[in-house]
Amino acid sequence: MPRRRPLRHVTFTLGAAITLALIVTAGLSLVYTPADPLAMSIAARLQGPTGAHPFGTDHFGRDVLSRVMTGAVTSIAVGLIAVGIGAGVGMLLGILGGYLGGWVDEALMRLVDAVQGFPAILSALLFTAVFAPGVLVSMVAIGIAFVPAFARLARGSFLTLREREFVAAARALGGGDPRVVLRHILPNALPPLIVQATTSFPVAILAEAALAYLGLGTQPPHPSWGLMLKEAQNFLSLNPWFAVFPGGAIALTVLGLNLLGDGLRDLLDPRTV
């Protein structure tokens, strides 16, 4: 098989570069932003891009560039934790169903089918009716929406792998269920789940922005790209730039992560050689 060089793969390289820029921006915002993202200045409100404020200012005169930089941290944090919740719970359900089979599998799959009826927005609506809206609601609601995909993938892999000879051999050598699952089946089932995690991450970022936009996620004055777009909507005719930069940040981030995911899949899948 010819050896593939990741850096020669345009999609992968472009995606990795954009993703790296996102991570660096988020990391940098923890120690430095051009201005205090929460500092208001009524005299400087709703300005377009200037030397002092390259992305302009919002309706409270806050620096949009600093807020976009800080918003990257929220997006990454929500994305990582939501994918973690979806992957953790989904894999657990899928592994139990796929390995045990029978009525346990049937019951768990009905649960997974039911959870599929709850997109992140619907779960967030439900949780916000009962608990206060916030980042935590976003993380849990988005995580729940990811559960079915991870559960189905893990179940499918376990159904196939549990019949393979190496699993029978491990069992014949006296391996108990936990050992067979964790040492022998799980490592072989992981690659598609890793690809699923990378493709879920940009979806989580989009969902976080949508929930913040609806007022169900991150709450003001904390910067979030979706929340900034919600605030910008009322001032579209006065300062369109206010809506352009946070929206552009979301689009660029999601584009970078999608390209990275596509590139990774190409590089890891031997059929694309």
Partner: protein, 314 residues
Amino acid sequence: MRRYVARRVAALAATLLVVSALVFVVVRVLPGDPAALIMGTEGSPEATARLRESMGLDRPLAVQYLDWILGALRGDLGRSIQYDLPVGELIVSRLPVTLPLALLAAAFMVLLAIPLGLYAATHHRRSGDYVAMVVSQLGISIPQFWSGLLLILLFSVTLGWVRSGGFDGWSAGVWPAVRSLLLPAAALGFFQAAVLVRATRSAVLDVLREDYVRTARAKGVSERLVVGKHTLRNALIPVVTVAGIQLGQLVAGAIVLESVFALPGLGRLALGAIGARDLPVVQGVALFVASAIVVINFAVDLAYGFLDPRIRYE
């Protein structure tokens, strides 16, 4: 085939039961005392107790669940605290906004995605394919509500062709109502189309590599017939699955777009109910939307079985 359908219907019934249990647990069990949640800090203990009794919250949870689910089966989803109207009636009154919005967006999605995906596949690794893929990649990356805002900025703020939001209802005429839904449906449909373009392209490419397509070409069948008859029909099977999943996403996306364009649909009903702590409405909308998505998924499953006989014999 009958056995396949019966099996799927039984699974659907079980799934809907789990959906109802999940909604019930979140709204009635997690808050501890829903009456106290609805009354908030301003409610006196007596008023809270009265509300608890009138909503039947003083009965055992199992009885409450049974009562609620049997009512739901008859179309009775309880009474809105904010509007003092039956929840079912409120949901039905908002459907003429949400349903046409989702259907219009679905039409945008299919009309854009299938021809573009087909074009990309039949022009594989040529400039047309690359352009289609770049457009699709951009479409997936742009959040629906941001494209909604950009459409408002262009067509409403800059060009002044349409108003930025609102809906006067169907009684004002079909065209004015459709015109109010065009921009949100375009924003919603474009995003979903971007996903479907990739699925269509990849499905058509797979079929174009099949032996029977090569045979048809070798027999001198015209390219139009090869693509239109031999390829598209078989490629449609996975495309229908993806499109079906997208339909569920369209319902969820409609909730967001209703907020961007100030449309009085189901999403705005639920968001307003949260602000007013109107739990019966939130519970009813959640049950309705989640059940609708589950039923759509079931219909896709069934369609898949009809289109591909191998599925139903598995």
